[in-house]
Symmetry: D3
Subunit: 161 residues, 6 copies
């Protein structure tokens, strides 16, 4: 059977031993989108200019959640993150794209940290706007790129799609 | 301007005062999907029968994250959760649906707790399988139903879609 | 000897039993100031208008820390906070005043939550501006008012000082 | 405009990238004072000799909070602390001075860790004694010294004041 | 098969729904022992009188861990604890007994909180003394009594053994 | 007096300075047992085969608690753990042995991490089965082996007893 490294040969969950791996510079970029009604997106944009910036608050939530990744994902290693950067892009009149970039000098990658940053930012946008648009959705949360480590460079096919 | 209750009239973020609201029984159901390659889904299913159950581990992660919701979402109230239930449904040969139901007797709803449960479970599935399928995606994270509180019953249109 | 309730008659620390106290509406207001160079304060004010709002970030940090009070203060009871509101006032050209108001329906007061909110907001202002003004100071962190509970109303003498 | 490194050129908050900085030995010393009524200070001193040591409890709280700094301060890097030492000095009959020294071998400094240690210890003194002296104040929380890193040595002017 | 309530009928873990249970006054008492060399125990006792009180520090650790119980035990409900009291008894020249009493007004019991308090206090004694006695053991961690709730009073047989 | 390194010469608790110690590969193995009624153990074993695996859940709890060790044990250093492995052995018809192995490349050992893993797994077994066997006990929690660091190799006498 194809092995999943988080399980040993008896199928028991474990935190994989990364002790023998070299410390290298790791980068991961993940993204996701939040779909909403156009008037909700307009409200977020208007507020950014005026007062009550939903996206800045979501950004902070994403950065802080990144630091809690190993508390949330059972078999994740606790890491010292070197940087977290979260950007928002207006894709169309009902879509905000969240892009999180995380880096660390570590023995294992920071994919889960980048994915966690995206979801926490997305959940916070939902929380801030749910009173006006309960049907918002978080979608397409995925890893776009990673580098560093033995498995080397990963770049998602059709990254712009 | 349409008001977002998490901001006061000056646009300052705050934890909304729920002190005057009655304690009522609150329920929220949220869901999301994880898209993967058919061979990844088959691996998860094979392991469930044999050894190393990815979904049971994701379930635990989801329950535990539910209890951390107010640590992750900046303006969420800390709540005493009464129940958390997370189910997985195989939608098709490349899709696992996650459904989280949360309840509490509280002054405010548990939507964010249910949404957080879904995303933490989804992130854990990703983490467990990322070595074989880095392109997995978490999508359609949304609120399906809520009840309790002044805003009453919410049920998403086209819930079965 | 005057008794401190957090110690029993043998001088052993304990979490005081509040189980027999009635649930009442508790409010606490605490404040503190951050002293800095006038050019630092001007920088904060300029950025508020333009980009990179130090105070909004400090506000979020204060709200989130309020929820962690019982993790930080050893003998504090874990509480369900109903509201947190943090305001900033420019006192003079080198002083920002932080005022935090917290409320809960609980068996014990929320003074420590309000004090914790003020210090976390102050520490965050320090962190954001320390590269330009390492000598900033946080001072006069104190309880201004409390109400609810057996000890009743407290209002600091010379509150405006 | 003078730049604050925690914001990028668009004014967006981020965790600053420290990945290219060398690991050096970092030390920071911060201090603050707690002002109280002379009889409160006498009570603390009497108890230290007899039973129920307020300051030892505040010390533990300070050490433990130091480890939570990156959970509390939104843009702080998570660090591996090498040492934390917290001392108390009786300044006069109504003033306890708290001095926290923190060190780490890291890519970024430990100023916030030392400042957080001081405030958590101060808040705990307040919590322990608030039933007898609600008007206590925490003041003059500041960085006294730092060393290590590119910005080099910092020593507060008039450190003894 | 005998049912374990933390699993549903499909064997899936869940946080049991306690929402329909009445809020009652819950008490639980748990205990455990730490076995060590007589000279280690003597060292602890000498230090209690003189300086560096291992047991007071273990007590604080126990109280603080009680508040984290639902973070540690996956299916535990988050509760508002009303009181925590931890006592130490010297059983013989190589045995310290730890007794933790916890109470809450809640829909579910506080057994796990009391058990967690005992183990955290025991682990802290171990940590404090491990440099002089690495072979210390924590044993007999168990529930002694509980009251409140539908299952009513429990009192361990041979409680004094 | 024999010194305990967690106290300074004045008897004040501190986080010991490990900054000058070299980073070495650290391993610790700890174990403990859970005593229960034979029918409880049989229930756990039956469920492992069928549905609702108590031990897998306890394993996850143990791994996750390992990452929280420095939050629980006041003077423990925060560490980057490289691996956690938790195994269960059926000792006899009423005894499950828990063995936790932890490793890290750090300046200080991982004994407390291994001990914490064992107790969290034990507490979770208790929590899962307490409705059918309230008298279960956790015993013999101890360090079996450690290696790495100046104090070198430790191996418990009579390890198999």
């Amino acid at each position: 059977m194809v092995e999943l490294p988080h399980f040993d040969s008896d199928g028991h969950a474990r935190m994989v031993d990364v002790g023998a791996k070299p410390i290298t510079h790791r980068v991961a970029v993940a993204s996701g989108i939040v779909k909403m009604q156009p008037r909700t997106l307009k409200l977020i944009q208007d507020r950014q200019i005026q007062k009550g910036d939903v996206l800045e608050l979501a950004r902070i939530a994403g950065v802080m959640a990144t630091k809690r990744t190993s508390d949330l994902i059972p078999l994740c290693h606790p890491l010292r993150i070197d940087s977290v950067d979260i950007e928002f892009q207006i894709e169309d009149d009902q879509t905000i794209k969240i892009v999180a970039s995380v880096s660390a000098n570590e023995r294992t990658g920071v994919e889960m940290e980048a994915m966690t940053a995206v979801t926490a930012a997305g959940l916070t946008i939902y929380d801030m706007c749910k009173s006006v648009d309960r049907a918002m959705q978080i979608s397409d949360v995925r890893l776009d790129e990673k580098s560093g480590g033995k498995s080397g460079q990963f770049r998602r096919n059709g990254l712009q799609s």
